[in-house]
Amino acid sequence: MDLLASVFDLIITGLQKPTLGFLLGGMLIAALGSRLTIPDQVYKFIVFVLLMKVGLSGGMEIRNANLADLLLPAVFAVLIGVIIVLLGQLVLTRLPGIKPADALATAGLFGAVSASTFAAAMLHLDDVGMEYEAWVSALYPFMDIPALILAIVLARMANKKDPSKRNQKSVTVGYVIKDSLQGSALSALLLGLVLGLLTRPESVYDSFYEPMFRGLLSIMMLIMGIEAWQRLAELRRVAHWYAIYAVLAPIVHGLIAFGFGYVAHQVTGFSPGGVVLLSILAASSSDISGPPTLRAGIPSANPSAFIGASTSIGTPICIAIAIPLFTQLAIAVF
């Protein structure tokens, strides 16, 4: 009885978190047909400020970090990205009514990383007072890029077997790496890391990027909520297996990463908060740069399927459930 009550309490408290409130609020107003939208140029600005904040704080911390500590988590991040894509291919291609191209694009998107979900996780840890290595943000590309590359390469190999599509222009691995790093999200994050590492941005960080973080993230959550609802209509038109995959993927992927993080904790003293962030990198699915990269890399894949699964279901599940879940798990385990 007590346990039930405490779980209920936890849910209520969770729903009262402004982050989740704005996300659900966005879904609600979209469901009610509201014409409220955050203009796309404002959206890009918000993404920029959030990622610059995450990057700067990471970079300022790496200055004093032991670089060797980064190594193991970075290797694990690559492994996790690869495992998610292979697992996704294994599962999705086996399901009825799912084209290989769509399966791989979806798996790739879930292997890649959502910067805004990651920012929400950082804020959550700040709020519950769990410490973490700010440089975990530097792991982002290590998981994101291999996942995207692998998905595109596997799709191309699948296509090669199909003679009618053999003359398609192939996208090289180098191209995908370059394209990912040049995307606006990764560029902003990496630039922030570099500026945080090499310059002394404390004054501008304390006067602008840090104070704006919470407010802009609330608007970002609203946008993601609106978007989640909008895409749901498209998702409904494709096989319902995507929805089931999207519900389970954040939990399963987060657990896999939690396991790797646990090892890193034992071996190099990776902090519990760091383990949670690594789990959220894995649990999240890309919402900004992943989709166009996959669109260009696997043009035959149906965006309604892969974006729908990720934006409409994967991301809300990740924010509403995976973030508090893995935080609680870390409290329980460590």
């Binding site: 890009k44 398609q168 919402d287 166009p292 669109r295 035959s300 149906n302």
Partner: protein, 104 residues
């Protein structure tokens, strides 16, 4: 002096813009104009003011005027056959009249 020319209009997703521009420049077009918008077709919807998150999926229209009608048709045809076989987009041709023929 008035000359007749062909206007090639290409409507597609922004994510393919760079590639198409490269094809057009290789084919020798002397200029082009690009507009952003939204649209709807057989692939999926492209709203013009919602969905800010995925900018690359917005619709763009690329217009290029060419004095050489045969070249214009050739470009349009090869785009449709090679480029747009599996990608969303529409190519159309129409007749226009221009001055200063050397510009096109």
């Amino acid at each position: 002096m008035k000359h007749s020319a062909k206007l090639v209009s290409i409507v597609t997703e922004k994510v393919f813009e760079v590639e198409i521009i490269r094809l057009l420049e290789k084919a020798g077009v002397k200029g082009y104009t690009i507009f952003e918008g939204g649209g709807s077709g057989s692939f999926h919807h492209h709203h013009d003011n919602i969905s800010p998150m995925i900018d690359g999926f917005r619709i763009v229209k690329i217009e290029t005027i060419m004095s050489d009608a045969t070249l214009a048709e050739q470009i349009a045809m090869s785009l449709v056959e090679e480029f747009f076989s599996e990608k969303p987009g529409v190519v159309s041709l129409s007749d226009v009249e221009v001055f200063r023929n050397q510009k096109f």
